[in-house]
């Protein structure tokens, strides 16, 4: 969970990497109790470009609501994996096509990692743009793209996402620490557990201390909606 800013600050202080209550926000009381600005490396990497080409030229790039460019990282499931930089506003489908599509036919892509969004091909027309994506309930997250092959087991993927969530949960708040573990156990009980898992996801989203527990339910719920009972098959397969 140390990508979460308050957990990151705790880890930098040499303490357990746990999320802290907000407020106080790090900008008011952060590292060693002092006001702290936490920026993503990906944000700062834009600064040289802005200085080089000038703010007006930089702002001319991208879409109305998301200026500039975004780095996307395509995993090995695409024909041409790697990191690409695209102007905001570029349709996701164009990014996927430019990478040669999936190495094998794809059922979906997981955009933005385990706290992002699961997108089936019918949603790939969405532009890479925070505003346009937010309108459709899509989270761009860190901009990673993981290819989900057509023959992937939805149940395996569901268990993988829940295991990741349980492993990364810091243990401080009850909904996330205990909810991820409980949902992981329920995912092995077959389709009858669907309603109980849905309730836990809602609890985590509503009540968790930090963005990790609040966002982890997103792709899990999308997986359950997209693949139905197949995501809760008792035999998850390979």
């Amino acid at each position: 969970v140390c990508g979460e800013e308050t957990a990151l600050l705790a880890a930098v202080e040499g303490l357990r990497g746990e999320a802290r209550p907000r407020p106080p926000y790090p900008a008011a009381r952060g590292l060693h109790g002092l006001p702290t600005v936490v920026n993503n490396v990906e944000t700062l990497v834009n600064v040289p470009a802005i200085l080089e080409i000038g703010p007006d030229a930089y702002a001319a790039l991208g879409s109305e609501r998301s200026r500039g460019t975004k780095a996307l990282c395509l995993n090995r499931g695409f024909a041409r994996p790697g990191i690409v930089e695209v102007e905001f506003g570029t349709p996701l489908s164009a990014v996927i096509e430019a990478a040669g599509g999936g190495a094998v036919p794809l059922a979906a892509v997981l955009l933005g990692g385990p706290m992002g969004s699961l997108l089936a091909p019918d949603a790939w027309d969405v532009p890479v743009c925070y505003g346009a994506m937010a309108e459709r309930g899509i989270r761009l997250g860190h901009g990673g793209l993981v290819a989900i092959p057509e023959d992937a087991s939805p149940a395996f993927l569901l268990r993988h996402l829940l295991a990741f969530a349980a492993q990364e949960s810091c243990g401080r708040c009850v909904p996330c620490a205990l909810g991820t573990a409980r949902a992981g156990a329920l995912a092995r009980e077959g389709p009858a557990a669907r309603a109980r898992i849905a309730r836990l996801l809602e609890l985590m989203e509503q009540a968790s201390l930090c963005g990790f527990g609040q966002l982890v339910p997103g792709p899990i719920r999308e997986l359950l909606e997209r693949f139905g009972d197949a995501a809760l098959a008792v035999d998850a397969g390979p």
Binding site: P21, A166, Q167, G171, R172, R182, L203, A207
Partner: protein, 191 residues
């Protein structure tokens, strides 16, 4: 000059600078459940039982670490909040040990009030190495009040937690024996 007011469950509460919603509510005699928060200790923000609805906020906010503000309209016991509390208590009751005991009346009372049945745990191995303090892990729900009390009142930092996620558990001293920890038997932890 009239004092700035906030409204908690329809009741006018004077706003004091730096006070949390939880503290202001308690001062006004409005009970908000909380297992990790305790008077005089820094907010842990872990149990999430003190979530309240604040008008204009996109999601429920934890009363223990949200400052009270003038004109704020707070609701502490809506059906949605009560459902969240019941589900949190169900998780705790399922995943953490429980046995009726004199120190656990607050927790037992919350479970009972929300209609959550606890499954009693078996007695664990008790650390009785210290002349005044005993630690029974089979009664610990990892609320961490003791961690805060020892850090903030006595400054001994005897307690910490180990493990992550659901496996997080209380830790004390280098050998997990009170007799060998820096504990001074002050009793601030509730021991």
């Amino acid at each position: 000059v009239s004092a700035a007011l906030a409204w908690i469950d329809g009741r006018a509460v004077a706003v004091r600078d730096g006070e949390t919603i939880l503290a202001a509510a308690r001062r006004a005699g409005i009970a908000i459940p909380a297992l990790c928060a305790a008077d005089g200790l820094a907010a842990e923000g872990g149990c999430r039982l003190c979530l309240v609805e604040v008008e204009g906020a996109a999601r429920p906010l934890a009363a223990c670490h949200t400052p009270i503000r003038a004109e704020q309209i707070v609701r502490t016991a809506t059906p949605a909040l009560e459902r969240i509390r019941r589900e949190i208590l169900e998780l705790l009751a399922d995943e953490r040990p429980f046995r009726p005991n004199p120190r656990g009346v607050e927790y037992a009372g919350l479970l009972a009030r929300h209609g959550v049945a606890a499954r009693p745990s078996a007695a664990g191995e008790v650390d009785a190495t210290h002349p005044y303090l005993r630690f029974d892990p089979s009664l610990c729900i990892v609320c961490r009040r003791c961690v805060h009390a020892c850090d903030e009142i006595q400054g001994q930092s005897v307690f910490d937690v180990a493990g992550r996620g659901a496996a997080t558990r209380l830790l004390y001293g280098p050998s997990e024996r009170f007799a060998e920890s820096p504990c001074t038997a002050c009793g601030a932890c509730g021991g």
